[in-house]
Amino acid sequence: MVTCMSTSFDSKIAAMAVMLLVVAGCGGDRSDMARTEKQRLGLAPMVQQFLIEGERAYKNGNYLVALALTDSAEKYASDVADIHFLRGGIYTDLNQYEIADRAYETTLELDPEYRGAHMNLGINHARRGALRDAIKSFRNEEALKPNSNLYLELGRAYAKLGVADSAQAAYEKAIALDPTNASAIMWLGQLFEELGDFDKAIEYSMRGASLRPDNLDYKYIIGSQLFRTGNVEEAANYLRPVAEARPWHHGAQYNMGQVLMRMGEEKSAQEYLAQADTAQQWQQEINEARGAVERNPNDVRNWIRFGEAHRNAGMPDRAADAFWSAVALEPTNLGLQTNLATVMLESGDAKGAVLRYQAIVRMDSTFIEAWLNLGAAYGNSGEYDEARVAWGRVLELEPGNRRARAYLSQLRQMAGS
């Protein structure tokens, strides 16, 4: 099954949007204020703080901290639906759907009108292939208050069920509610593509992409649609930037190779096809690792394998997501913490990496590799004084450490120049 756009990502954003609204107290019309909204007004500041920070940690993928904060909040206010809703989101990301479902059900027991809980339950049903149940949940959410992303998810469920007209209707509602919902527009285009109506498919894909002109996923979709309709040169214009930016994107590499083959540029085509072959192997390893995670999300080794598979394929940001999940299972495993910090650094999140390394050296102040990497993370952030301190700490622990000396020497040279 082709997943050209990440529904889980969109769903998470949708769920987060609901959370942000409720925690910030933007409940809308006060005259029909729901139970939770009333409850929030009287929420102890400490609990509110736990929730806000928990939500932030969740958004950053720091599931362990997010779970700890929900536990803390629950200790003081167990009947607050927000807490269980947040927990549901965390466990969903950890692929622990049964726990997540229970959390959402608790949310709804506490507040039957809680916005987002039915929707997220539906998303979890859909992920497990229980599409009819998913649709029921989405319809329950619709009865509370429809929103554009809800109809997007509803459309996805109908499309997966093969009910094209209902899918189309749902997507169109999503777009009517929010004409800037690029995902909904793209998925409607995807539906037309599956139905064989490429004129409409390309029209909608172009429209969606115009809302997010830098989105490489969208470029890829348009490129592959153009290729299949015989617009070879135009397809190349869309596919080339995707293939160049994403060596791991086997679809882009493969289609670019095919396009060039059609254009008679066989030598260049072979290069892309060779890269497609490599990317295919990466993807296969990722798929197998994903399968292991889905079968047993409680086994930390599966998450590590999933993370490493992404890292090998040159996707450090997705590797970081996997390592966050691993760390949530074994929070005291310093090796895991280090892996996580490393991929954060590789993905360009130097500040996040610094925070990770700081956490690691707090747990083990004699961990030389962590001090070395902390210095490197500081250096990448331009915080040279802090880097000097970190590498200096390495020399205190191991006076002859060559790497620390070399780094410090580089710092001195930079200062001199």
């Binding site: 099954m1 082709v2 292939g129 093969g162 139905l195 064989g196 299949r228 015989g230 083959m261 079968r295």
Partner: protein, 559 residues
Amino acid sequence: MVGCSRSTSQIPDRSDAQLPVFTPVTKEAGLADFKHVNGAAGRKWYPEQMGSGGGFIDYDGDGWLDILLLGGGIWSPDTLDHPRAVWIYRNNRDGTFSDVTREAGLHGVRAYTIGFAAADYDNDGDEDLFITNLGENMLFENTGGRFEEVTQKAGIQGNDLWSSSAIFFDADLDGYVDLYVANYVDWSPETDIFCPQGGTVKLYCHPAVYTGVQSRFYRNNGDGTFTDRTEEAGFMPTLGKSLGVSELDFNFDGWPDLAVVNDGEGDLLFRNNGDGTFTDIGFRSGFAFSEHGEARAGMGVDAGVVDSTGRYTLFVGNFSEEMVGVYRNVGGESFVDQSALSRIGFPSLLSLTFGLFLFDVDLDSDLDLLIANGHVHPDRTGENDRIRYRQPAQLFLNRGDGKFDEVREAGGVLSLPLVARGAAYGDYDKDGDLDVLITENNGPVHLWRNDTNGGNYLRVHVRGRESNRDGLGTRLTALLNGLTMERRIRTGSSYLSQSEKVATFGLGSANEVDSLVVYWPSGLVERFATVEGNQDVLLIEGTGELRSANTRDGGTAPL
């Protein structure tokens, strides 16, 4: 109740043409005793879910299609109660069949049978039989309607693997048909892998957990023996988990090419180099993968010209949520997956397709598509509301331009939920249209008589003289009101099964074809102007004469 939306008219058309009608005749035809046995005993051994095939063969050479079915097998070699591995039914020429397995010498076959291909490999005028097994395959020589196993004598032994589909074709155009045997994965009871769901309950494994094994190519020596030339012919290495194989000539150079589809690995397109050796161009041609560069679970395969471009399109049956692959040749050696554009993609999205074939079901001149579906995981399919273990077959009518409309039927054979595997067509009742045979895993066979009020027809039988006697690889084109129809005489295609080796042209409302051209594998081309419809004709290579082969009223065809 049958419904189908067709937005463009067919050329030529029949004003009184109806949508296809099939009548299930399994019981009245005398085939109800057959049941495939997969040996399942709770151990969830991988091969249990994959068999088996069946199809049409004229084993006694009387011009009436007989039916051969593979019975599967069980695992214990000690039991006295072996199921029958092979079943052959003789056509009684009245719409019924008689079980003649014992008389045909196939009653004592001991094997876990999977699929078959039948052709006259020794050019002696009768159809010989190759059966693929889990374990050593078997070659049977037809000696006047009785089969004798000649596996060892013919040099086919030594393939103690899990074979799937097989095809006879004349790779080097020497007048003797060669044999390609698709092999699947390295599995035995001893190497069975425990594939659990939730940690404890064993389920059928995903093919990814098993290693693929090399398919084999046997060159016919012309003296009743074969030599394994897999490597020399360019078929090695392809460790591809192969399940289906189809012959075509996509570049029209007169040399037969092969399409081989694999389960979870890239599909293969072997271009004949013009000397009987082959080069795999699957990857570079665009045939290997889906439109997004992903390997799919290829099972059945067929190839044909389905539009007015004159170019080939390859159809590949895939797993549920993968769509049937529709790879259209767009010139040169390039193929583009047009599953969605063909309008087959979305209706087949949830189907798990094994057998599939192209045939002109309504005799309106273009090739339609039938796909036989059925899942492999009785325990997992409950997760998705629309993906069932038992699935109906689907029929797609060609609009004439390579776009198809699914025939939706309530209450007929196309609404029967099946665990289908093999699928084949043939005109067993000699009424000019094509009937359908479908096999089920661990279940019965289904014979569906075509009772469509379709168009007129012309059916062309061939017999090679310089070419191989079956005329395998013969290309036939018929011109009708400016429309060129293309057919090919082949074995293989579909999944584990064999269809008849006759070219059927649907004429719609026309009474004759303007011309018929026959391109023999030997290179000889024979042309015929204005051939009347509604008849079976026989062309013997080089005679320049079309003989009537109508036998509907009981006569024996000179076939």
